[in-house]
């Protein structure tokens, strides 16, 4: 099977997955609670208020019709063109607000955090994983493994709080919240402050946004590096035992070539695949990190709306998270296929 047909297949296969995911979200948010509108008022609201809310949100219609409206809104290209974001319905909390718009404006913050955390986690995880596997059974291996185990057991928000306490409160080196402080944020191009500030040549905004990013992305990155480390280590150990590694050594190749060109190069594919799956875990951690650092991303938006019992907003955020994960796993799979010559038959 050629690479192109693989990519096409993979994209086609994404459609049922997405549909399934959207349906699941619908079931959880609309069907499970029975009547989300009544729940919004904690079942104590004035029946007239509840009814009005139902009408505004279209919840007075039968479920199947709500379902069609929900899916239809998402694929409404006209709406997307007009607003720049998909139709995710209106917020329960403030019925004049479009959830789609809010979710889309919160998303870049989450994306930026996720990107830097992923970079930190993979660099740290892969480096330590390789080092650990190379010293299998010896002291460095034990130390690195214990580091991995401990990071796995640390609640991400606890690490965040400790970082805030040390670097923010006691040392006062770094800000403990917001995406940027002291200066105005750069004009939005991509929505990622570090990129936007560079594009505009705004050095001060760049430095400030990096300072703000440092603690949250380190927190998330370190916690996740434990998982990446374990994946890398396990796959490296398995690959290092394969005959082609010994054969490479028997040809007199340098140990670094053997480690990176042979072992890691082959161990990397399964690691990358697993990293794609672990991205979901990273996003879960991002919700907590955002809450800890008052990072105005999708996760914080969702947590804030929980307090207002704004179920349509929560639903919108969950859908957005789902789309994001699906997109990432698609990208990772295609990347893996591209890197693996065995798929290019």
């Amino acid at each position: 099977m050629g690479l192109r047909s693989y990519v096409i297949t993979r994209i086609i296969l994404t459609i049922p997955t997405l549909l399934l995911l959207l349906t699941a979200v619908f079931l959880v948010m609309r069907v499970l609670p029975g009547d989300p509108a009544a729940l919004h008022f904690e079942k104590k609201g004035d029946p007239a208020d509840v009814e009005r809310l139902r009408q505004i949100l279209g919840m007075d219609k039968p479920l199947w019709q709500q379902y069609i409206n929900y899916i239809g809104g998402l694929v409404d290209i006209g709406y997307l063109r007009q607003h720049g974001y998909p139709n995710l319905g209106k917020s329960m909390y403030q019925t004049s607000e479009e959830v789609g718009g809010q979710v889309f404006s919160a998303f870049p913050a989450t994306l930026e955090l996720a990107i830097y955390a992923t970079i930190i986690a993979s660099v740290l995880g892969i480096m330590l994983g390789v080092a650990s596997s190379k010293s299998y059974g010896k002291t460095p291996d034990h130390l690195i493994r214990n580091f991995g185990t401990i990071t796995y057991a640390i609640p991400v928000f606890f690490l965040g709080l400790i970082f805030q306490l040390i670097f923010g409160v006691y040392l006062g080196w770094l800000p403990t919240g917001q995406r940027i402080s002291n200066v105005a944020p750069p004009t939005t191009i991509t929505g990622l402050y570090t990129i936007d500030s560079i594009l505009q040549g705004n050095i001060i905004a760049f430095v400030e946004s990096v300072r703000a990013l440092l603690l949250p992305s380190l927190t998330l990155g370190i916690v996740l590096s434990g998982v990446f480390l374990r994946l890398t280590r396990a796959n490296m150990l398995e690959t290092l035992r394969l005959e082609f590694v010994t054969a490479a050594r028997a040809r007199g190749l340098q140990e670094s070539t053997v480690t990176y060109g042979y072992a890691l190069r082959n161990a990397f594919l399964p690691v990358l695949t697993m990293m794609g799956l672990q991205f979901a875990m990273l996003l879960g951690g991002a919700v907590l990190t955002e809450t800890t650092f008052s990072w105005p991303g999708l996760g914080k938006y969702m947590v804030d709306r929980i307090n207002f019992r704004d179920y349509t907003a929560i639903q919108g955020a969950v859908v957005m998270f789902g789309l994001f994960v699906t997109l990432v796993s698609l990208t990772v799979d295609v990347l893996c296929a591209y890197l693996d010559p065995r798929i290019r038959l």
Binding site: M1, S5, Y6, I8, T9, I12, L13
Partner: protein, 344 residues
């Protein structure tokens, strides 16, 4: 020994053939559909198949050791599995003592399993690692409700002794983990003879056993033929072992039998070019003998795209026009010896 001599008496065999036949296979086919991706399924309706077993016909006589030999991928193992109904045949008939067993289901198939047994290649994989030796060997009795408790234990001890694991009491509580490869293969043997089967498929039973232990396993197989009247379908890639153990041998190539005959016929007068090449390639443990292997072109083609005509023609040094277009049928050259080759 006497038995072997009688059995090898070709003429006598001819006469009693119909009476003594235990397994007959007619036009047996097993095609495995090739796995396709979703996209490929959408784009084309044409299915392709791995033709693992392609139109086999042969019969095995009572108390005979009949060998299917060939290189990896020739379909010999699949044939054995289809015969036991561990894999469903695509088409064709399998007759066990005259009864067509290809359609048997449920309880009747389970009853058949008592009569037909199997011994696998890999002794490290054929035993459940979490089952004690005694339980594993006694389990067939339990399944078929043939013996309980003490009776079962007695039967287990008996077969353990029979396969040479003595004293049997010491083995009954062990897990496979505690046994060597040779010992495991004996346990597997014990499990398959405890039901007193009439027919056994031995699928490369010694190829993963250390050389020094092979003979003991082969001797056990031979002794069961005499003691229990077992008939074997012996599947092997090792023609030297085949020569030692078999009465008759069929050589397979790409899912088909290319030559079939008694052991003497196959080894002293091989007719098919493939058989000849195969025999010439076998190493001989004798420094004095310097033989020259027959040159064959290329390698075995894939069983998905089987060559036209005689499937051996692309590699055959004697191939002619006819071989490219016409399939060669398996035709007798003597009453017991048949070859599928246009040149004969």
């Amino acid at each position: 020994m006497l038995e072997t001599i009688i059995l090898s008496d070709v003429l006598l065999l001819e006469r009693v053939q119909k009476l003594s036949e235990i397994v007959r296979v007619e036009n047996l086919k097993k095609y495995f559909p090739v796995q396709k991706s979703v996209l490929e399924q959408l784009l084309s309706r044409k299915k392709s198949y791995v033709k693992a077993v392609d139109n086999l016909t042969f019969s095995i006589r009572k108390k005979e050791i009949f060998t299917l030999a060939g290189e990896s991928g020739c379909g010999k193992t699949t044939t054995g599995r289809v015969l036991l109904r561990l894999t469903e045949p695509t088409s064709g008939g399998i007759y066990f003592k005259g009864e067509d067993i290809t359609r048997l289901k449920g309880e009747r198939l389970r009853l058949l399993r008592r009569k037909m047994q199997v011994i696998f290649q890999d002794p490290y994989a054929s035993l459940n690692p979490r089952m004690r030796v005694g339980d594993a060997i006694g389990h067939p009795l339990e399944i078929h409700g043939l013996a309980r408790q003490e009776e079962k234990t007695k039967a287990v001890l008996e077969v353990l002794a029979k396969v040479g694991l003595t004293p049997p009491e010491q083995f009954i509580d062990l897990y496979p983990l505690h046994l060597s490869g040779g010992q495991r293969q004996r346990v597997a043997l014990a499990r398959s003879i405890i039901l007193k089967p009439e027919f056994m498929v031995a699928d490369e039973p010694v190829s993963m056993i250390d050389v020094s232990l092979r003979t003991t396993i082969i001797d056990l197989l031979l002794s069961f033929r005499n003691e229990l009247g077992l008939t074997y379908l012996f599947v092997t890639h090792d023609l030297a072992v085949a020569k030692y153990i078999s009465d008759r041998i069929a050589i397979m190539y790409l899912g088909k039998i290319v030559e079939i005959g008694t052991k003497q016929e196959i080894f002293s007068t091989p007719m098919h070019p493939y058989t000849q090449a195969l025999l010439s390639a076998i190493p001989v443990p004798d420094p004095e003998r310097k033989r020259k292997a027959m040159e064959l072109k290329g390698e075995v083609p894939s069983a998905i795209n089987v060559p036209t005509g005689c499937r051996f023609h692309p590699r055959c040094p004697f191939a002619e026009k006819k071989c490219i277009t016409e399939e060669a049928e398996l035709l007798p050259v003597t009453p017991t010896h048949s070859v599928a080759c246009h040149q004969k």
